[in-house]
């Protein structure tokens, strides 16, 4: 166990199923309340760096709000990549189509990586994190 635990947030600052971002030692960390158990993960999505606290937490599963990549907050494992978007049946305007083609080509090479987790513990009404 790391002895570098620091106070991150008060326990009552996040309801079960909620998430909150803190910055500790220059690291952006999301504290997750999973049914009264607290976990800490890196803020940036392992897919395209979106802010994970803007996603949803269900049990131990965090879904990124940007492309719906999913992660296990206990292990940090990436569980699934982005969900394909529905672009509808109509063709986009030529300029947008060109951009989408370019973005699609780049995104084909993007991998969804697992996210970093941090140790947590509870003490005197606080969630402590070892950054």
């Amino acid at each position: 166990m790391s002895d570098k635990f620091v106070r991150a947030i008060r326990i009552d600052e996040i309801a079960p199923g909620g998430m909150k971002t803190v910055e500790i030692d220059g690291r952006e960390i999301v504290i997750c309340n999973s049914g009264g158990a607290y976990y800490a993960v890196q803020r940036r999505c392992g897919h395209m760096n979106a802010a994970l606290e803007l996603g949803t937490l269900d049990g131990q599963y965090l879904t990124c709000g940007m492309h719906c990549a999913q992660f296990d907050i206990v292990t940090g494992q990436a569980l699934s990549g982005p969900v394909p978007a529905d672009l509808g049946n109509e063709s986009p305007p030529p300029k947008l189509a060109e951009f989408l083609q370019h973005a699609g080509m780049q995104m084909k090479h993007v991998r969804t990586e697992s996210i970093r987790t941090y140790e947590t513990k509870l003490e005197a009404g606080w969630v402590l994190v070892a950054p």
């Binding site: 599963y61 999913q70 494992q77 569980l79 699934s80 990549g81 394909p84 529905d86």
Partner: protein, 111 residues
């Protein structure tokens, strides 16, 4: 990505969807495991866990109707056969899933 972890996550999410619909995972654990594994593979390929027992038609509107759990899109049919098409889900009162044949909508008078 680890298939076992993903299977566990799909189980967690699917259970929440099918339970209010009166369905549960098949008691045949081996079949459940096999079907979930196929879905993880399909999700890895297409980004979506489609039903492993129905063909993709590459028509989004139709393909969305076979995203697991697809029970709401085939409710009458699955209620009639007391299971979903591939057998991953069965009615909550089913204890012997092998006793439920895979009957088509036509077989049960729905077409």
């Amino acid at each position: 990505m680890d298939a076992e972890s993903r299977k566990k996550a799909l189980h967690y999410f699917f259970d929440k969807v099918v339970d209010p619909l009166g369905f549960k995972f098949t008691p045949d654990v081996e079949l459940m495991d096999f079907l979930l594994e196929q879905e993880v593979m399909l999700e890895g390929k297409h980004g979506i866990p489609f039903c492993p027992c129905q063909p993709l038609r590459h028509d989004r509107a139709r393909d969305m109707q076979i995203v697991c759990p697809c029970i709401p899109f085939h409710r009458k049919h699955f209620d009639a056969i007391r299971r979903c098409w591939c057998g991953l889900f069965v009615h909550k009162d089913v204890i012997d899933p092998d006793s439920l044949p895979q009957l088509s909508p036509k077989d049960v008078g729905l077409e």
